[in-house]
């Protein structure tokens, strides 16, 4: 199987010359999906999306069509596109916004047409300056072209789209924090209930928050039909998935693959994809779905990359970021790095995440620096338990949002697999691995 030639949906145009311009986009059949959509009723499109069974590509994997169906019947309705991709080793939306902004705009306008929104906000991570620049330029082109604004393509449908740069907080990728930030407030996740922005979202109005990759699929689905989309993939995991392969592989990068048809082994070792572990080292562990997912081991290489299969081995597909780690990797250091990221991005609103995260970071740092005690291992697990009771998967939480419970998995799964490595740090009073290629202590921000 040559994965490089599998069906491409969202990345089909990415390698075209100046793919981000409207001329390039139109030459490749751009805005045909929107033109077709405007000849259909919103319900017809919604049905196609339901048939396609597009799982949300932001990480939680909630069906996009079902989410739209939960919209509270009230006006106004807002559509918000979540482009605040900020997790370490996750970079698929980045590529889509930068490489094919018109596809995103077209998908967003189709989604707005379905849900009856007259206003779309595209929230883009502030640290994507090129993406923001290209998206804004594309939006201007789209307005000129008549694909956005009043009476789109001479239809009676009008929608305005605004690009909103984020202000540098990972937490604003959490959809309710994103809405707070859009409202001009501090980016605090909202406390549930109400559970869904579809009921009470931006400015209290019903709001749909969709991921960049999710809406980028819409033009294709409208043109080719939901059943053609659903013909790809398996089970609940339909269509293609854009996988961000990072970590210790020879060929890191974004790979759009038919979903559920590839295994971790394919992704990591196929010459057309990951191309194997760097320096032909030994694979030690894999972070299968972003750094908040529990780690899996080489014994799981033949597990399919589908949502269900990864859930079946006690982890998650998440947003599609796969990070293999080779045998030179210190597992304590890896967990410390991950926890440090989450703690520093903790919004500080609720206690377990704010204080528990800082504490976990300090304990891990101490162990890594050779100052650990054997009792620290139980302490780590108990602190994790106070953030995520039971330290199980899927996680329970004492927190407001899932950022806090994103810290325990790398500790718990790391400790379960590599307890000896933790103990070696403690007994030897030092880290047994060579120093990082990066400075060990990054300056505090």
């Amino acid at each position: 199987m040559t994965f490089g030639e599998s069906t491409r949906i969202v990345t089909a145009r990415l390698h075209n010359e100046r793919s981000w311009t409207i001329s390039s986009y139109l030459a490749a059949g751009g805005y045909q999906g929107l033109r077709k959509a405007l000849t259909m009723t919103p319900k017809e499109i919604h049905d196609q999306v339901n048939t396609a069974n597009i799982l949300g590509r932001g990480g939680a994997g909630f069906e996009a069509g079902r989410k739209w169906g939960m919209l509270r019947q009230a006006q106004p309705v807002y559509l918000t596109i979540n482009g605040d991709e900020s997790e370490p080793a996750t970079f698929k939306d980045h590529a889509l916004i930068e490489g094919d902004p018109h596809q995103l705009i077209e998908g967003a306008v189709i989604a707005a047409y379905v849900i009856g929104a007259a206003q779309v906000f595209i929230f883009v991570r502030g640290e994507f300056p090129l993406a923001i620049e290209r998206l804004q330029a594309a939006l201007n082109e789209a307005y000129d072209y008549g694909a956005v604004g009043a009476n789109i393509f001479a239809s009676s449908f009008s929608v305005d789209v605004v690009v909103h740069p984020g202000a540098g907080a990972y937490i604003c990728g959490e959809e309710t924090a994103l809405l707070e930030s859009l409202e001009g407030k501090r980016g605090y996740p909202r406390i549930k209930p109400p559970f869904f922005p579809a009921v009470m979202g931006l400015y209290g109005a019903p709001t749909i928050v969709n991921n960049v990759e999710t809406v980028s699929n819409l033009p294709w689905v409208v043109i080719n039909g939901g059943d053609n989309f659903a013909a790809l993939g398996e089970g609940r995991s339909k269509g293609t998935k854009l996988l961000a392969l990072a970590g210790h592989v020879k060929r890191p990068g974004n790979y759009e693959l038919e979903w559920a048809k590839v295994t971790f082994r394919d992704l990591i070792f196929d010459p057309a994809l990951g191309g194997g572990i760097r320096d032909d080292n030994e694979l030690k562990a894999i972070i299968p779905g972003g750094v908040s997912s529990p780690w899996i081991g080489p014994e799981h290489l033949d597990v399919s990359l589908s949502n269900e299969a990864i859930a079946g081995i006690g982890s998650m597909a998440g947003s599609g970021s796969v990070i293999p780690m080779d045998h030179t990797t210190c597992m304590v250091r890896a967990a410390w790095r991950i926890v440090r990221f989450f703690h520093r991005e903790s919004c500080g609103q609720c206690t377990p995440c704010r204080e528990g995260g800082g504490w976990l970071e300090k304990i891990l740092e101490r162990i890594e620096m050779g100052q650990g005690r054997e009792s620290d291992l139980d302490l780590l697990m108990d602190v994790c338990d106070n953030i995520s009771p039971g330290v199980s998967w899927p996680p329970a939480q004492t927190t407001i949002c899932v950022l806090g419970p994103s810290m325990p998995p790398s500790i718990a799964s790391g400790l379960a697999r590599f307890r000896d490595e933790y103990l070696a740090h403690i007994r030897e009073g030092r880290c047994p691995f060579p120093p990082d290629r990066l400075p060990r202590r990054l300056a505090r921000v």
């Binding site: 903790s346 500080g348 609720c350 800082g358 504490w359 009771p389 004492t398």
Partner: protein
């Protein structure tokens, strides 16, 4: 054991009414006064059954789990939750285990409503593990410096750690460090290391006070409460954040390191700083008041206090305090004795009475008196001095008959009314906690606000409509918004569309009003001290014709409403009755002849004194030189009066001119009752000793004795008993009632008139009132804590008193007992005043601006200026005018201008505000360095000023 303990145990003794602490056994309440409005029987539809810790309890549908648990007597630990703010579920301390179809989950009790059949566990292993975990997290970065922390001993973090926290720390790393403390305002210090990020202060500032000047900064465990760059947390309500902070992160400058909570004596009382009458606890140690804490009185202040009330307590500074009697020797006041000073005062007064009779003496002031003091002085003036020249107002208020005769609303009624119209007052500056209540009603309730004001106020941002009318034309505006026909053009400078919109609000309010409460509540106050009271009195009378209208008086000074009710106004006698209708009644009961005619008000007395007609003037806690709108008129009056006796707590400017100065006991050093702007009577407690000062009633009794009249009073309780017996307004409001279960909320007089209920006494919440409760928790038996939660007191309401028959005070066996006159009627609606043509509108020269002046909270008055902590808060005086006005003068922002009138001139900086209409010059009343009173002629209907660039012309 501390004094507090004994104070609390004393209160169970009804024979000792001197100490009233809010935690007392409900005494037997007299049947005449209490017990109407049937206890709210919850209907089945709004009650749900919840199982809390295995016990089935009834709860109100939709209420938060934490509230339902409180009602059931189950305490769930908490930090961020506050019953007077919206829940946020941030601290996670209140996690409880709730059973559900998919197993049990941990939920914050403050953010999840109860539902029927819900089963929850607050002390299950899972809940306890979560609670202990959260507490351990909160302590991770907390410095645990309890021995040097102001909060130690009354700290919810300390208390809840003992009950719910881990026994020892597992944290061995270094805690976070910050500079500490940092001053976030002139009054409040922030220690970020102690902060547990509960957000109570941040939410209070934004949600309750509307001053969003503090917020969180940074992330993770570096999260801190911060002020914005170059913008201190200068809010009128900043002290509340200190009170509600559940740790020692926010401390107040005046209390910092002053005392430990277990050393404090305390008494519950009412703040007399303004006429709102917020319920408060005063705490003292070693005879010095150290702190005030707001008490949650449901109908009044909801636990909040303004900074002026909280921090201007008598012992905050002794600057200028009068502690011993003084008499004039030449140009100097020298210390004297009570005997000598009283004798000298009496002889001065006697001399005046001998030469000029009752009309040649007068009493100015009385708003700082208790009701009992005011009653005795009112009687003293009529009986011993033979004069009706008595006025508690200083020419800066409203006609007494207007205040007393208009139908009254309560604050709760205003907050529930579809429409509130504010006239004249800047509530935020003058009646601060009323501003909090009205703002809340507008933002959270169904109340709409219409503002009739010449200039912007603190409530302007919340007004649905604002009529910026032309000064001096308020009555015309009132006619336009109430008359049958729509105006065709602008009236009083207000365009027809605004007037039409206001008329729409009034008719909408009439349709939406509930069956019991008023449709429209008008807050009526003097729009400007540079304008006489004629327009506002006329406007009030016109607005009184709105169907379903009721009024809140905007008079701001302390117990002014109590003083007026006690007859401290010409033509008025105790009990809100008129001299001419009640004369025979009081002549009978007081067994004395009363003045034949109504006397003079302050203005009249000062004019008479300036003409040499006043032989003796008593200043009763007043400072006309500063407070009378016309400084020149006040000075002429004081100079013209041949003999001046001052009864005061401080040596203010007027007192310094007196011949005899008698030291009066300040607020915390005496007991009695207070009446707020609703007519709510509440008990004032005494916490410190008066030293050599006397309460005012005692001074009157002694003076009367020297003048040959035996008033015969021995205690405030005895005086109150006479008031309750004689005053038709206070019938049924016995001392037992006031010190009983209604003590906290007071009683609105006349009982039953407003349909007011004192039912809702909130359950004691140790987190809502941290300062008090903690002490109580340690010192009070558990049975006392249930006060207010259950029992007769909590669910019943005041009942209209049975009108007594004329024979009622049968014990009064004077010679004429058998022909006792009937009880006089209360003062009614005042007549519509006829504008007097004689009063000129001042002399407006070309280019002149109409002067508008009102009080700010931080001003040049004694309360603020004698306080070490507050005196610096008063801003410098500024002339505020429309930008076009300043441009026409060629004056830039901040430049000095000279403001002059026929009376005098003043140099101030100029400031532009587009919210101020053209033709108006606004200068705040008497800020330090700018005596606006020197520009004003009280005889003029309006005052005009000319403004020139440059200073000191």
């Amino acid at each position: 054991m501390s004094e507090t303990n004994s104070a609390v145990s004393q209160v169970a003794d009804p024979a000792d009414p001197g100490v009233v602490v809010h935690l007392r056994k409900p005494p037997v309440v007299t049947a005449s006064a209490v017990g109407t409005a049937p206890p709210r029987t919850p209907s089945a539809s709004d009650t749900v059954t919840v199982t809390i810790d295995g016990r089935q309890v009834q709860a109100k549908a939709g209420e938060w789990i934490i509230d339902a648990a409180d009602q059931a007597g189950v305490y769930i630990p908490r930090f961020c939750y506050h019953p007077r703010m919206k829940p946020v579920g941030m601290c996670r301390m209140c996690l409880v285990e709730v059973e559900g179809p998919r197993g049990s989950t941990l939920m914050p009790a403050c953010f999840n409503p109860v539902s029927d059949g819900m089963t929850l566990h607050t002390r299950s292993p899972k809940a306890l593990k979560a609670q202990e975990g959260v507490l351990e997290f909160l302590l991770v970065n907390h410095p645990l410096d309890c021995p040097v922390c102001d909060k130690g001993g009354e700290c919810p973090l300390q208390d809840q750690t003992l009950t719910y926290g881990p026994g020892e720390t597992r944290f061995v790393e270094e805690k976070r460090h910050w500079d500490k403390p940092i001053a976030i305002s002139e009054l409040v210090y922030l220690d970020r290391e102690r902060c547990i990020q509960c957000g109570r202060c941040v939410r209070f500032a934004d949600e309750v006070a509307g001053d969003a000047l503090i917020d969180f900064a940074e992330r993770g465990d570096r999260t801190e409460v911060a002020v914005f760059p170059d913008s201190p947390y200068s809010s009128y309500f900043s002290g509340n954040v200190v009170q509600i902070c559940p740790v020692g992160a926010l401390t107040s400058k005046p209390y910092r390191f002053k005392a430990r909570p277990w050393d404090l004596e305390q008494v519950e009382t009412t703040c007399t700083s303004c006429a709102v009458g917020c319920r408060t606890v005063v705490q003292a140690t070693q005879g010095q008041v150290t702190r005030l804490i707001g008490v949650d009185s449901d109908p009044v202040n909801w636990g909040w206090l303004c900074d002026k009330g909280r921090f201007s307590y008598p012992d905050a500074s002794d600057a200028g305090r009068v502690s011993v009697p003084m008499i004039r020797e030449g140009d100097e006041l020298v210390e004297s004795t009570w005997a000598e000073a009283i004798a000298k005062a009496a002889s001065g007064i006697s001399a005046a009475l001998r030469f000029g009779g009752g009309s040649s003496v007068g009493v100015i002031g009385g708003a700082r008196l208790t009701n009992e003091d005011a009653y005795v002085w009112s009687k003293f003036a009529r009986v011993a001095l033979g004069t009706d020249n008595v006025d508690a107002q200083l020419g800066d208020g409203l006609p007494a008959q207007t205040v007393l005769g208009l139908p009254r609303a309560t604050i709760d009624q205003a907050a529930a009314a579809p429409l509130v119209i504010t006239v004249g007052s800047d509530v935020k500056d003058e009646l601060p906690v009323l501003y909090i209540r009205l703002r809340h009603a507008v933002l959270e309730g169904a109340t709409q606000l219409v503002e009739l004001n010449t200039t912007p106020t603190g409530l302007s941002p919340y007004a649905a409509d604002t009529a910026r009318y032309k000064p001096g034309e308020l009555a015309a505006l009132a006619v336009a918004i109430t008359s049958k026909s729509e105006p065709t053009g602008p009236v009083a400078g207000v365009d027809a569309s605004t007037i039409a919109s206001i008329r729409g609000h009034i008719s909408r309010a009439g349709r939406e009003a509930g069956p019991s409460g008023p449709a429209v509540v008008v807050l009526i106050a003097r729009p400007s001290l540079a304008e006489n009271d004629e327009q506002v009195a006329t406007a009030a009378r016109i607005l009184a014709e709105i169907p379903g209208v009721a009024f809140l008086s905007g008079l701001r000074r302390g117990n002014i409403h109590g003083a007026l009710d006690m007859g401290m106004a010409p033509g008025i006698l105790p009990g809100r009755v008129a001299l001419d209708t009640a004369r025979s009644y009081y002549e009978h009961h007081w067994a004395a002849e009363l003045p034949a005619e109504a006397g003079l008000d302050t203005s009249g007395m000062l004019v008479d004194a300036a003409r040499g007609h006043i032989g003796a003037l008593v200043l009763l806690g007043s400072d006309p030189l500063v407070d009378f709108p016309d400084a020149d008129g006040a000075l002429r009056g004081l100079v013209g009066a041949r003999f001046v006796v001052a009864v005061d707590t401080h040596l203010n400017e007027s007192v310094r001119r007196a011949d005899v100065v008698l030291p009066a006991a300040p607020w915390s050093q005496r007991r009695g009752t207070f009446t707020n702007l609703e007519g709510r009577v509440s008990w004032l407690g005494q916490v410190t000793s008066p030293g050599s000062a006397w309460p005012e009633w005692m001074i009157a009794v002694e003076l009367a004795a020297r003048l040959g009249v035996d008033l015969g009073y021995e205690s405030p309780e005895g005086i109150w008993a006479e008031i309750e017996k004689l005053s038709p307004l206070h019938r049924g409001v016995t001392h037992e009632v006031l010190s009983g279960p209604y003590g906290r909320d007071g009683v609105v007089v006349p009982v039953g008139a407003s349909g007011h209920s004192t039912a809702a006494v909130r359950p004691l919440d140790p987190m809502a009132d941290p300062g008090i409760s903690s002490a109580e928790r340690h010192k009070v038996a558990a049975s006392s804590l249930s006060y207010g939660r259950a029992g007769a007191g909590s669910s019943s309401a005041m009942k209209p008193a049975q009108p007594r028959t004329a024979q009622a005070p049968a014990s009064d066996s004077g010679p004429d007992a058998q022909v006792e006159p009937a009880t006089p009627p209360l003062v009614g609606l005042p007549p519509v005043p006829v504008p007097s043509p004689s009063k000129p509108a001042g002399s407006a020269v070309g280019g002149a601006l109409t002067l508008v002046t009102r009080r700010k909270m931080w001003d040049g008055g004694t309360a603020v200026q004698s306080s070490t902590y507050l005196s610096g808060l008063a801003p410098p005086p500024v002339l505020v005018a429309n930008p076009a006005e300043l441009a026409a003068l060629g004056v830039a922002e901040g430049e000095k201008v000279t403001v002059s009138s026929a009376k005098g001139s003043l140099t101030v900086a100029a400031s532009a505000d587009a919210g101020v209409a053209r033709g108006i010059a606004v200068i705040a009343w008497n800020l330090p360095g700018g005596r606006v009173g020197e520009l004003i002629d009280a005889g003029d209907r309006l005052n005009f000023v000319s403004v020139e660039p440059g200073g000191d012309k």
